[in-house]
């Protein structure tokens, strides 16, 4: 017997159209930016809007990424995800209040230290809460979407009420640390400091996530698990532990998003998670349930569109996102980057 000589694979050149097809979703973001420029026709306000759109999009991405990954990996839909946004915000803001001497100090380093500690506290609290949530709420109903939705909504109600028990029902107003107030003036363009920070954090988180998913073994396990969890287990990996880790990370990211959202709005309420959740859902559906890249693109689209539309007609901002979602679903019924399951 010889080495199967007739079986000699060749890679065909793809046509330009074929090669462009997977890039389409990614091209939407720059396209939308151009459309935004056409809408505003004013470089300085366009830049301001774009920056704030990116900041908002990246914050939504941070909050939504955990949810989409959890769905992709274990087919678990968590309607209680918004509760972690609220929890993160409340814990973070409480820490900022406790560190009043740091936030009021005129030193940039001390201010940022306070913000960093608030973020760490918020993420730690949500990670812990997420672990408990997974144990009590999510684990018993795995494999049944209907019960998952019901039970996680129940979890959302309870979590929201617990936040009210601990922090009271009133809105809490606060101001950002000194270093994050105001804007840099570059020429005639005002760049709000916090938005810049938010964009930086968002990019770092996305880059880190991309690195972990593309370059590490745990990332390989997660990506393979999204497609065929059974086979990953048959190779010897305990997918359940990976799933819990992803769930907890996702909750911690929601907490991070919550702290940033709170700093952005400078007010927190127990219901803020619900509002965030609507945007998260829109983003996750636009991107394709389970796809992290799709989630990133979807978040940027939503953030940018909301800001551009708000500039023209503020009342239509939220509705524009629904319109975007409908348009994308008509174009691609499974979202921008559909995740195909093996089974």
């Amino acid at each position: 017997m010889t080495h199967a000589p007739e079986h000699n694979p060749q890679i065909q050149q793809m046509t330009l159209q074929q090669r462009l097809a997977p890039a389409w979703p990614g091209l939407l973001v720059p396209l939308l930016m151009c459309a935004g420029f056409a809408l505003t026709l004013n470089p300085s306000s366009w830049l301001t809007l774009t920056l704030s759109g990116l900041a908002m999009g990246l914050m939504i991405f941070i909050m939504a990424s955990g949810m989409t990954l959890v769905f992709g990996l274990m087919d678990v839909i968590n309607f209680g995800h918004g509760a972690f946004v609220s929890l993160g915000a409340f814990v973070g803001v409480s820490v900022l209040f406790a560190l009043g001497h740091l936030t009021a100090a005129p030193s940039v380093a001390l201010n940022l230290l306070a913000v960093l500690m608030a973020i760490c506290a918020g993420m730690a609290a949500t990670a812990l809460a997420g672990w408990a949530f997974e144990r009590v709420i999510v684990k018993p109903v795995q494999g049944n979407h209907l019960n998952q939705i019901l039970v996680t909504v129940g979890g959302l109600i309870v979590a929201e009420q617990l936040i009210i028990v601990l922090w009271g029902p009133e809105e809490i107003y606060f101001t950002r640390p000194e270093a994050l107030k105001g804007s840099f003036i570059i020429g005639s363009i005002a760049v709000e400091k916090f938005r810049l920070v938010a964009v930086c954090i968002g990019i770092v988180v996305f880059a880190a996530m991309h690195f972990v998913l593309r370059r590490t073994k745990i990332g390989l396990i997660v990506r393979a698990g999204v497609q065929n969890g059974e086979m990953v287990e048959a190779l010897g990996y305990r997918l359940r532990q990976v799933f819990v880790a992803v769930f907890v990370t996702g909750c911690a990211l929601a907490g991070l998003g919550g702290v940033m959202w709170a700093l952005y709005q400078e007010v927190i309420t127990a219901h803020m998670g619900n509002q965030a959740m609507i945007l998260i859902f829109i983003v996750v559906i636009i991107g394709g349930l389970g796809s992290i890249e799709g989630c990133f693109i979807g978040a940027l689209l939503v953030g940018l569109l909301q800001n551009y539309v708000a500039f023209v007609e503020p009342k239509l901002a939220l509705v524009s996102n629904i319109g975007l979602m409908v348009a994308i679903l008509v174009w691609r019924p499974m979202g921008l980057i559909p995740v195909v399951k093996a089974k």
């Binding site: 017997m1 080495h3 199967a4 007739e6 079986h7 000699n8 694979p9 890679i11 073994k217 390989l220 396990i221 990506r223 393979a224 999204v226 497609q227 065929n228 059974e230 086979m231 990953v232 287990e233 048959a234 190779l235 010897g236 990996y237 305990r238 997918l239 359940r240 195909v340 093996a342």
Partner: protein, 259 residues
């Protein structure tokens, strides 16, 4: 004395199933499967479509939970263990649907399969020599592979890690004759290295060429067990158990051998 005990352990089968019953939802699929896989041999699991061969393999891997009976691997009951722990105990698995991660490249598929760390260069060299297309397509997304290449990747994934037992579900399904030959050689190599193999095979010629022992399933239970050669020679037995005879299969076999 110690030698005797060693001898006994070596003689003990690597895997045995005793009266295994498996239900899939309301359907009773396995109806008391008794099966012994001797160490260092190729054991064939044969039978018509739908008699429960794949379900038996999936039950061993813990993908389906058995509700009665026991599955003993290396002397320990694995029937209640999670799938991951069963694999870690030393079982490599090639599922019927190949279980390729189509969004990952061939390289990433292999990296994932190398459970205990970086891939061993020797084993990788052996795999490339056996399945040259995998080397050519190393950085291609596995979803773009042809059916035969996917099957090679699936078997290679099991081979990259040294396991005591390989469970392989229909490695030649839908393959061109030339690739069947490549596959048979790969499995022969694996056997020569001393591994034990439990294999479901519909291609009787391949089964006859590779198998040492055979178990034939009928209606969710093993109806006949014995040496592969005895089954291959007894046409009436084949007809009564599987509804076909080697005469048709023999032509395939000679075709396979001559290629």
């Amino acid at each position: 004395m110690a030698d005797q005990i060693d001898h006994l352990i070596e003689d003990a089968p690597i895997l045995r199933l005793d009266a295994v019953h498996t239900d899939i939802r309301q359907y009773h699929i396995l109806n008391g499967v008794d099966l012994v896989v001797p160490r260092g041999q190729v054991t064939m699991l044969l039978g018509r479509n739908g008699v429960g061969k794949t379900t038996t393999l999936r039950s061993i891997m813990g993908h389906w939970r058995i509700h009665r009976g026991s599955i003993t691997f290396n002397g320990a009951d694995i029937s209640t263990q999670p799938t991951a722990d069963i694999a870690r105990a030393g079982i490599g698995y090639v599922p019927e649907d190949m279980g390729i991660f189509s969004d990952l490249t061939v390289e990433e598929n292999m990296q994932l399969a190398a459970f205990s760390g970086p891939m061993s260069a020797t084993r990788l060299g052996w795999i490339f020599a056996t399945f040259p297309p995998l080397k050519t397509l190393w950085h291609t997304e596995a979803g773009h592979l042809s059916g035969g290449q996917k099957q090679m990747l699936s078997v290679a994934r099991a081979m990259i890690e040294e396991r005591e037992l390989y469970i392989i579900d229909e490695p030649t399904k839908g393959l061109a004759p030339a690739i069947v030959a490549t596959m048979v050689r790969a499995l022969q190599d694996l056997k020569d290295q001393g591994a034990s193999i439990l294999m479901v095979e519909q291609n009787f010629a391949v089964a006859a060429a590779l198998g040492d022992t055979a178990h034939v399933m009928v209606d969710g239970a093993v109806k006949w067990s014995g040496p592969m050669r005895a089954l291959a020679e007894d046409l009436d037995l084949q007809r009564s158990l599987m509804g076909f005879s080697l005469q048709t299969a023999a032509r395939d076999q000679s075709a396979t051998k001559s290629s």
